[in-house]
Point group: C2
Chain length 210, copies 2
Amino acid sequence: MKRDKISNAVIRRLPRYCRHLAALRREGAERISSSELGKKMGLTASQIRQDLSCFGEFGQQGYGYNVDSLYQEIREILHLDREKEGILIGVGNLGCALLQNFKFGDSGIHLSAAFDVSPHRIGTEVGGVPVLDAAGLADYLAEHQVSVAVLTLPARFAEETARLLMDHSVRGIWNFTSFEFEAGEEHPDVVVESLHFSDSLRVLSYLIGA
Amino acid sequence: MKRDKISNAVIRRLPRYCRHLAALRREGAERISSSELGKKMGLTASQIRQDLSCFGEFGQQGYGYNVDSLYQEIREILHLDREKEGILIGVGNLGCALLQNFKFGDSGIHLSAAFDVSPHRIGTEVGGVPVLDAAGLADYLAEHQVSVAVLTLPARFAEETARLLMDHSVRGIWNFTSFEFEAGEEHPDVVVESLHFSDSLRVLSYLIGA
């Protein structure tokens, strides 16, 4: 597996394979051809075969893919089975929505704590996760092996917080703020994955036309 | 402009151009070369030129792009200046987060109403948007020209609600639920844009490695 060579587009399709294969498993499907899978995902059969060939040999001529084993392989490629410790910073509406409804475990993340500045929040639990005082974030990071931090705080605090996280060896930042992270120069090993809601809505605006 | 021929990847980059050009404008930049813009966006100069050539002729050899006019052009391509009426369905934590913090207007959407089933919510305003009884959704759709609906309700209600929306000529669904919309057969003109949070977190998981 030469992970460096794999295009961004292929990487971004991996979770989609995962979702579709999970659904097929739930439906009890045992095998699927590349053209059937392609139809579900809006891809061609050859695109499916090409994508998967980046990671090894899957499927058999005339048989297709074994749903369960392809699902497991893709989970492994995405490291979903290796639990990583995560924290969430900013327990506002969006933070609460994630803590209460989002299944972090399904993506290999165990959320050990959430942080906020509000005295009303600190000391409570949201979605089973304890909310701690953001003033203690640096100490917490020093004492825990936090791999992933979820940023759901106001955008104006994003940069400063990200700096603290990076200085404490957090490897991934899942950014829900509108703060624009530049491609990392100081911390080239840190991955920032931003969910820009407005990008998605603007694509929708484009696609529905004038 | 042959919009049908434009690849999904290019379309998804348009909002990113928009964000980066908006930031350049705020900084007072008047012009930018394709290589400078590429550096900011993590693209090559030739990719930038190729992307933009899908939509017409922009920029001049030796001068680069005029920041303001390219920004305006891309806003126009995305239809951001044509206001469309939108509604939001499901005023839980995520719905509230969007109503209170997300700038729908910046994406050309005027939210005229939100809908919920909770008696505590109905009749209130969140982020300046009135919350109406979800029981009246069909009537509301019949009386208003709603172009875009934001789905922030529990996933189990997504399909039924989407059907109602499509039957009332809603053109775009911005789906925050985990419900998997299949490529539309009954309503081929309706665009569904889903924000699958887990896809984003799984890409992060892949990128940070084992």
